[in-house]
């Protein structure tokens, strides 16, 4: 025996014109036969549903598509920035190029190795004091003396050639 509470769900569907399965339809029909309140409810549900379905459709403004197209076009610019897959694809060639440059650079370096001393000498400029640093017997005093000798040529002392 269907209660009025349980009948409401079936009444909503019946008001839509939706076909209920046979057992549900039979149960509802039996209930409606003996319940005036639910028969009124069904009529009211149909009336409301019919009116809502008759709600006039919106007419879009002429600018709707123009504005939407502009907004979608803007997304095309931001889309690539926001999408990590786009970043990955776009950066992949640059990453490969960088790796290649790094590899070639290291290969070139490996074919013509120079010692750190040679590098220091080639980059020390005119300062012989810098080369003293690679002397095994260097002392801080000898470095200072060398530096003073370079800074005071007018004193007559020529820097010792080492």
């Amino acid at each position: 025996m269907l209660s009025c509470t349980d009948a409401t769900r079936l009444i909503a569907r019946r008001a839509d014109g939706e076909a209920l399965d046979e057992p549900a339809a039979a149960t509802l029909d039996e209930h409606l036969t003996g319940c005036a309140s639910c028969r009124d409810a069904l009529a009211a549900q149909r009336a409301v549903a019919d009116l809502l379905r008759a709600r006039p459709v919106e007419r879009l403004s002429p600018q709707f598509h123009v504005r939407l197209a502009q907004r979608l076009d803007e997304q095309a610019g931001w889309f690539g920035i926001a999408d990590w897959r786009t970043w990955t694809l776009r950066l992949a060639p640059a990453a490969v190029a960088l790796m290649l440059v790094a590899f070639l650079s290291s290969a070139q370096t490996a074919s013509a190795p120079i010692s750190l001393e040679e590098w220091a000498v080639s980059n020390a400029g005119s300062s012989s004091a810098a080369t003293l640093l690679w002397d095994e017997d260097v002392t801080s005093e000898s470095v200072v003396q060398e530096m003073l000798a370079v800074d005071a040529p007018a004193a007559g002392g020529a820097p010792d050639a080492r």
């Binding site: 909503a12 569907r13 549900q45 409301v48 549903a49 709600r55 919106e58 600018q63 907004r71 979608l72």
Partner: protein, 188 residues
Amino acid sequence: MDADRGLVEAAAAGDRDAFDELVRRYQGVIVGLARSMTAGSVDAEDIAQEVFVRAWRSLRGFRGDSTFRTWLHQIALNVVRSHYGRLSRLRRMIQAPPEDQGADSDPIEMAADRLDLEENVVLRDGIDRALATLPEDLRTAVVLRDVQGLDYREIADTLGIPIGTVESRIFRGRQRLRPLLEPLRDGR
């Protein structure tokens, strides 16, 4: 089988023409949803555009677990919810009455069919105002069924609730609308 499947797949791959076709299919539906859920708000077209922009951005992530129509309605309801609060506050601040849909149209074109337009505006406005009196859960269920035409399964999928709950909400929503809509019904 999703009737929009082919277009959705093409649009997800970046085909803008395919997406434009989807927009044409659903623009009226989504604008209608926005208006009926926001009591005829003047921002319904802006809301609808936001829905389509979000759909365009998210389409690559659409897995097809539901129909495109269901997925689009989910986006639309989220946008409406996020905008409606701001719209209500703004309207209270500026005391602006809702404008009718034809405000942007050519005034000469409007004058030519003004009678029909006014009747339609009155009816649509009356329905939208009545819907606005419903709690959000009842209003959403009734709008999706009777205004948008989704079936009960689609509504359940869109809202993530059981079909029985959908039936109950629709019944209760229509029951509350009955006295509010009777004047409109009698006037037709």
